[in-house]
């Protein structure tokens, strides 16, 4: 799911007013949401992680105003501004999402091409119990479909479980689950990855050094993702764990199952986010109702926020919202709407000492952000990685899938700007990617090979 965050998770006192303001102004300041994948983790052998993300939509642009009278005035002006700003900065955010997706894919492809470990078949996960080593094509197809059904049902069960936990406010459990899974990713998978890379390049490393490196990497990663840290470091860590997860998938999913799973996942994503009773949509809406941010470990955010010192008395709501924004110094954009909020905030700053309910002590600036769920990263990288690993056309196929996924992402973001609500990010990209993979591998490759052998140019 892709989310557009116009405001940070700044809790402002007039929550009720804000929600009513939200309903008052329909199109402006939408809460774009990205499709998120439900995240499963936790078991000792849980190799899969699906990220569920909730989207936030509190619209603070016009929000934060304590006086309802000024609202109508701002509404109309804001609506027009919103459209323009949306499109202007929409393009910018497309680029801001291109870069991490590209980075993740580059890491995955580079690893696949160089480290043999991830292309060797060493067994399968328990989530894909049926083997694909059968002699007949029909049997193989059947097995892969069965594998897919098993996998998707596990995903559905996990997502529903997560949504139920969220609905019944079992935040501690969710937090513990997320922490456990990111622990495993950051330590165990990194250890394996580092081991394999060192093996490939025949570099020796002693255990104490290894321990120190992995310990530091993992500890900083945990802090960055779950607590506070510089935004770019957090983004880098999220990219790295997505890449690690994608590599695990590429290694342990059998060939045909992987493709069928990719297709099935995008259909599931479509339904889970868009159907009224879909689990992801319910997650999103619940988060929106409660004005809470999405779990920090599940979403990649491209926005930068300045929020300092939230003194909200409602600690239960603040519990999971440990977003790790940092006051980044560079490239701040002065949007007109945030400046409204700014002036508003400065007004409320003076009465702060007298009003203990005021939540924000400082809100300097906001920048809109687009949020993309980590599951999307993972599955994009799985597609491109599989293309790199198994395609006989090698780089042409990989390149074609890469371009197809990016164009799909572009289109999805365009739709996001049009529809202004949570959208699944997987379907369009994965569909394009699959089409291009199969057609490039089977149709374009012989053509290009023949052309190259005769040195003809088209």
């Amino acid at each position: 799911m892709i989310t557009f965050m116009n405001n940070s998770d700044s809790e402002e006192e007039p929550c009720n007013e804000r929600t009513s303001l939200m309903s008052a102004e329909s199109p402006p300041v939408p809460s774009y949401q990205d499709g998120l994948q439900a995240s499963e983790a936790g078991e000792a052998q849980a190799h899969r992680k699906r990220r569920a993300g909730s989207s936030r939509g509190p619209n603070n642009i016009a929000g934060g105003e304590t006086s309802a009278s000024s609202v109508p005035v701002r509404e109309s002006t804001l609506e027009n501004e919103e459209e323009e700003l949306t499109l202007k900065y929409g393009a910018k955010h497309v680029i801001m999402l291109f870069v991490p997706v590209t980075l993740c894919m580059i890491v995955v492809v580079a690893t696949i091409k160089s480290v043999r470990f991830y292309t060797e078949k060493n067994g399968q996960l328990i989530y894909t119990p049926f083997s694909e080593d059968t002699p007949s094509v029909g049997q193989r197809l059947l097995n892969s479909v069965l594998n897919t059904i098993v996998m998707i049902s596990v995903i559905i069960v996990m997502t529903v479980f997560l949504v139920l936990l969220y609905k019944y406010r079992c935040y501690k459990f969710i937090h513990g689950w997320l922490i456990l899974s990111s622990l495993m990713l950051l330590f165990l998978f990194t250890y394996i990855y580092l081991g394999e890379v060192l093996k490939t390049y025949n570099v020796a490393m002693d255990y104490p050094t290894l321990f120190i490196i992995i310990w530091n990497f993992g500890a900083v990663g945990m802090i960055c993702i779950h607590w506070k840290g510089p935004l770019q470091l957090q983004q880098a860590y999220l990219i790295m764990i997505s890449a690690l997860m994608a590599l695990v998938f590429i290694k342990y999913l059998p060939e045909w199952s992987a493709w069928v799973i990719l297709g099935a996942i995008s259909i599931y994503d479509l339904m889970a986010v868009l159907c009224p009773k879909g689990p992801l949509r319910m997650l999103v809406e619940t988060a929106q109702e409660r004005n809470e941010p999405i779990f920090p470990a599940l979403i990649y955010s491209s926005a930068m926020m300045w929020t300092v010192g939230m003194a909200k008395p409602d600690t239960a709501a603040r519990g999971p919202s440990q977003q790790t924004w940092d006051a980044a110094e560079d490239g701040r954009e002065h949007l007109r709407s945030p400046s409204h909020a700014e002036s508003q905030m400065s007004d409320t700053r003076s009465p702060v000492p007298t009003r203990p309910i005021t939540s924000l002590e400082e809100l300097e600036e906001e920048e809109r952000g687009v949020k993309l769920g980590l599951g999307d990263f993972i599955f994009y990288s799985v597609l491109v990685g599989k293309a790199a690993a198994t395609a006989s056309g090698d780089w042409n196929t990989t390149l074609a899938c890469f371009v197809a996924i990016l164009i799909g992402l572009c289109l999805t973001l365009l739709l996001l700007a049009v529809f202004k609500k949570a959208l699944p990010a997987l379907p369009i990209s994965i569909t394009f990617g699959l089409i291009f993979y199969f057609s490039t591998d089977n149709l374009v490759r012989p053509f290009m090979d023949t052309l190259a052998s005769h040195q003809l140019y088209i």
Binding site: E84, L451, H454
Partner: protein
């Protein structure tokens, strides 16, 4: 880039079907099919360039309608340049990248009697094609903007010529030299169309203001 890719897809589909439907032993037929495939691909690429132009036109109208001061943040010439670069990069990448990957490995060039300059000439040919795509993009969009069909026809003919010349390979003088000459001509034409002039060029080279 995406549009170029789609055009490549469709043209290879056609070629593939043709090949599968024909006798694989007949060398001349295969060669003929290949030539047909190449020409068809060229025509399809230009058709997709036209489609892309139409799409960008619509996008510009949308941007103009939404902008504050009535003009779009990006002009059609910039879009033409970007489109050309996209086409060129994609075409170049698809031509070269497998070659580069193979070049990293062990081997001897031309051991079976082919030309030893294979990699070099491939590199130069790819470069000239990328440049040409960029210039053709500018020329094509300019022609579409101002409804000068002869410009569009010239681009198509140039593209066909360059592809056709590559049939001369491995007689590289027949393919590379004319291609470079065409590139220079296209470059000059595109430069003039974009508003450049000899004075501009002189000022730029002499670093005057």
């Amino acid at each position: 880039a995406f549009f170029w890719l789609v055009s490549l897809l469709l043209s290879s589909l056609i070629w593939f079907i043709a090949v599968k439907a024909s006798n694989p032993q007949d060398e001349r037929l295969q060669k003929g099919l290949l030539i047909f495939g190449v020409m068809f691909s060229v025509l399809l690429q230009e058709a997709f360039r036209f489609l892309y132009y139409k799409l960008l036109r619509k996008a510009i109208e949308g941007l103009v309608a939404l902008s504050e001061d009535g003009c779009s943040p990006i002009s059609i010439q910039q879009m033409a340049y970007v489109a050309g670069v996209g086409f060129g990069l994609m075409s170049g990448a698809f031509s070269m990248i497998n070659l580069l990957a193979d070049a990293l490995g062990p081997g001897t060039v031309g051991i079976h009697g082919d030309s030893q300059l294979y990699f070099l000439t491939s590199a130069f040919m790819t470069m000239v094609l990328i440049f040409l795509h960029t210039f053709w993009g500018i020329l094509f969009f300019h022609g579409c903007e101002h409804r000068r069909w002869w410009e569009i026809a010239a681009v198509v003919i140039m593209h066909l010529t360059v592809s056709g010349l590559s049939f001369c390979n491995p007689l590289y003088v027949g393919s590379l030299v004319p291609s470079y000459l065409l590139m220079v001509a296209a470059a000059a034409w595109a430069y003039l169309l974009s508003g450049g002039s000899v004075q501009n060029l002189r000022r730029f080279l002499l670093c005057k203001c």
